[in-house]
Subunit: 491 residues, 2 copies
């Protein structure tokens, strides 16, 4: 067990907070609710960004950039949208500071008040649709398939590193279409892109589904989501894709002329994932020894630690290390040879375990003599001795093996923590004793959903798009239910 | 000449504004001073980012992310820093909106006033050095070589797309070192990295130099800069790198223990380039027909336009086009085959000329018959007929030729617009009749610098690090001058 790291069994929440800090991923800043993403954490996020960006471009999207600030009047144009975000937004009211004439130091200059307050974007639908009005005249201008990588601000009162912060980084796709069907197809395509990324790169299994009306994005007609399950049995929403209908086009008066010259409002989607994914990545795979990273996203996939007592030994060990490093790099692997003499091998072993590097190679004088190296896997904590000549092929194979193993372990953990129930008593018992995903019948009303939430703190995570679709009776009211839906307590 | 584009000779400033809009690079938004960077403009910026990011990483830097907001008290800690930025900053004072009970719509909730105002970062030295205090204890923690890609806000009153906007995108490097010499070496290294990027990717020649004290960054002991010259004879500062001494370490109490355990304040640098570079790129190469892009940064390096009257011709032309596209892509070139049937060839020719695509290939039925294609260069507006079999090699060679030609043309234009003068009368005459860079002797005082600025609007762009270093006498006061310095009117 890592020194000073609380175990998951002792206090899962404390374990998470300590791990994020100790593995150098992020830390709190002097600004309430805002985090600093440290270089190691940011390197993981950069890999996520690169893969997602590639996937967005492969599906025909282009990046653009829209203003950070949203005039208050724009914000108010879509009624349910402003309801959803007005209660937690940062408001810019002035544009200048000055020296206080009464010796109070630097103060806000009361003469520099803005005519209209600006909201720091919590999401960009309003400013973007105000812009799209200028871009769209006819069907020839459609579809618009645009994505933005940006920071957004939501003034959350209770924050946790990566999971819920006042400022966070994300991408937000905003598309415009000529038909309802095309917009729905886009929203579905993007939830599939997210699921593909989260499962194949993050090695986190997800359930695709639709949000209930009360859990939908403010302004959406339909919200598609992917839901993951953490080791402590709590769910985490990993990404959402919204079919916005013509709501924003109507609020911002965006019309297009179709092939027959007939004017109609444009159909819209928006979709996003954020640095919250870092929380999902950490909580799905990590253990009491620290972070565990899937090879597809690890900044360093392999680290080589030399063991030696003198210069001669160091030279002999380095020769082998350099050779293996070159071979692995030639195979496209990200490899670090840590030859720092300021830290002992034992310290390095701990450090890379804590930081979740998938494979560690140790090479000492004995190994050089025997033509072998010691290879340790982070996911299984197992070690083996391998011939130097076989090591590159072996490690290259390990990358896939580890990626698959992490995914399979997460699937198994989720299966173990997923329960189908028939009665509300059973539901409450499972929720209390075991937690996890609970599939249960629901009568489709907001009242019942609210009752369950108030009584148990569990929410409907989604109406799954796959799995058992047999009808039945609501566990609470006994009224008819079209299919079981997915409940859980959630982050 | 492009339809509707004002010529440079008629009105350079108008030409620039129209070009930015017509080439789909950027546009003004509904938020005062904030621009929308459109997909085509953003694709160029993304290429710049990718190259710079690679260069930063090759010189040992890592990316990280720090908060958007800076508490007012942090901002005030470094005296000259706050003086430099307080007059033009966006201030967040509240964290909630609400429905006005008197029917005034959505208003700022007076009960949600922040205890301490937050400044939207105009630059991040203060928040970063507050963080570095926690990261640095001993020499083992140094150097810290961190970069951040971010948006920043400076409440400029007069804005122009890319050149001066209230919000802009940039990168800011912030490094911490154990010694003064190491920090100075870092600041010099980064101005060289910038010069390398701007000259070799943007094809814009620059003069490296030092800013005078009055033109230095607020809080710096020394500011290194690169200065470019636009076609209208005005200078544009393309990048800066600052040696900050121990100013921020002292303001934020950041000390480290050296190898002997002695405590000292840490030495710092910061350096940045921004979306302003887009302005330099546009103004250096473009002409009255529109944008001209260097191949190293063009989102599309080659575009293929088919010419046909019927399906049969289209098929024959497409066969050749697809073959050339594959060959060029195999050579790593970015190629677009524009087979849209919604637009005529002539429209496409204009469009790609306006958008600055370096090479255009046109293929018609006659070409298919003859086994040839027509190749047009954007930089020289020249056309030639080339055998299909030679076309890929030829175009691949053209990429280098065009890149070199654009750089050489810019060097020649700068040489033409650079004048050495001995007297202040000569200086004023050259400035009025010709503009451009003017090398002249200066006595090294802020008073003389200010006088020249007030009387002529020309500023000292830099004290060049290279070139003629003969001493002389100040053109204004006749007092001794160590070397000629570089004057110009500037953007």
């Amino acid at each position: 067990m890592a020194k000073n790291l609380t175990s998951r069994a002792t206090d899962y929440s404390k374990w998470y907070n300590e791990l994020v800090i100790q593995a150098d991923l992020a830390e709190n800043s002097g600004v309430r609710g805002c985090m600093v993403i440290k270089p190691y954490g940011f390197a993981i996020w950069e890999r996520m960004q690169a893969e997602l960006d590639r996937m967005f471009k492969e599906t025909g999207h282009q990046n653009a950039y829209f203003p950070l600030f949203i005039p208050k009047s724009y914000f108010s144009k879509e009624a349910s949208h402003v309801d959803g975000f007005a209660k937690e937004c940062a408001v810019v009211t002035h544009y200048r500071l000055k020296n206080d004439e009464d010796g109070g130091g630097i103060v806000v200059d009361p003469d520099a008040r803005l005519e209209e307050e600006l909201i720091v974007r919590p999401t960009s639908e309003t400013i973007i649709w105000d812009t799209y009005r200028k871009w769209i005249q006819s069907y020839r201008d459609l579809p618009i398939l645009v994505n933005q990588w940006a920071n957004v601000v939501r003034w959350e009162m209770r924050t946790r590193l990566f999971l819920r912060t006042a400022e966070f980084l994300w991408q937000e796709g905003h598309t415009a279409h000529a038909t309802e069907a095309e917009a729905i197809a886009e929203a579905e395509q993007m939830i599939n892109v997210y699921a593909d990324f989260v499962e194949n790169f993050m090695a986190v299994p997800v359930i695709k589904g639709l949000k209930t009306e009360s859990e939908r994005f403010a302004g959406a007609l339909e919200t598609y989501c992917i839901e993951a399950l953490m080791q402590d049995g709590k769910a985490l929403q990993a990404g959402t894709s919204h079919f916005l209908g013509q709501n924003f086009a109507k609020a911002f008066d965006v019309k297009f002329a179709d092939r027959d010259g007939k004017l109609d409002h444009v159909w819209a989607t928006s979709w996003g994932v954020s640095t919250r994914l870092m929380g999902a990545l950490i909580m799905t795979h990590s253990d009491d020894n620290g972070l565990v990273l899937p090879p597809n996203l690890a900044p360093d996939q392999v680290v080589i630690v030399p063991i030696y007592r003198n210069d001669e030994q160091f030279d002999a060990v380095s020769e082998v290390a350099n050779k293996i490093q070159s071979e692995l790099r030639a195979k496209g692997l990200r490899v670090k040879f840590d030859k720092r003499d300021t830290h002992k091998p034992g310290w390095k072993f701990n450090e890379y375990e804590l930081k979740g590097v998938p494979v560690r190679i140790a090479i000492g004088p004995k190994d050089v003599e025997n033509g072998t190296v010691e290879i340790a896997r982070r996911d299984t904590l197992s070690k083996e001795i391998v011939q130097v000549t076989d090591s590159a092929d072996h490690i290259s194979g390990l990358m896939e093996e580890i990626q698959t193993n992490l995914y399979q372990k997460a699937v198994d953990a989720r299966t173990e923590l997923t329960t189908e129930v028939e009665t509300y008593d059973e539901f409450k018992e499972v929720l209390e004793k075991k937690g996890g995903f609970i599939l249960a019948h629901w009568d489709g009303t907001a009242e019942t959903e609210e009752q369950v939430k108030n009584e148990t703190k569990a929410t409907i995570r989604c109406i799954p798009m796959e799995g058992d679709t047999s009808p039945g009776n609501c566990m609470v009211t006994g009224r008819p239910s079209a299919r079981k839906v997915l409940f859980a307590k959630a982050y």
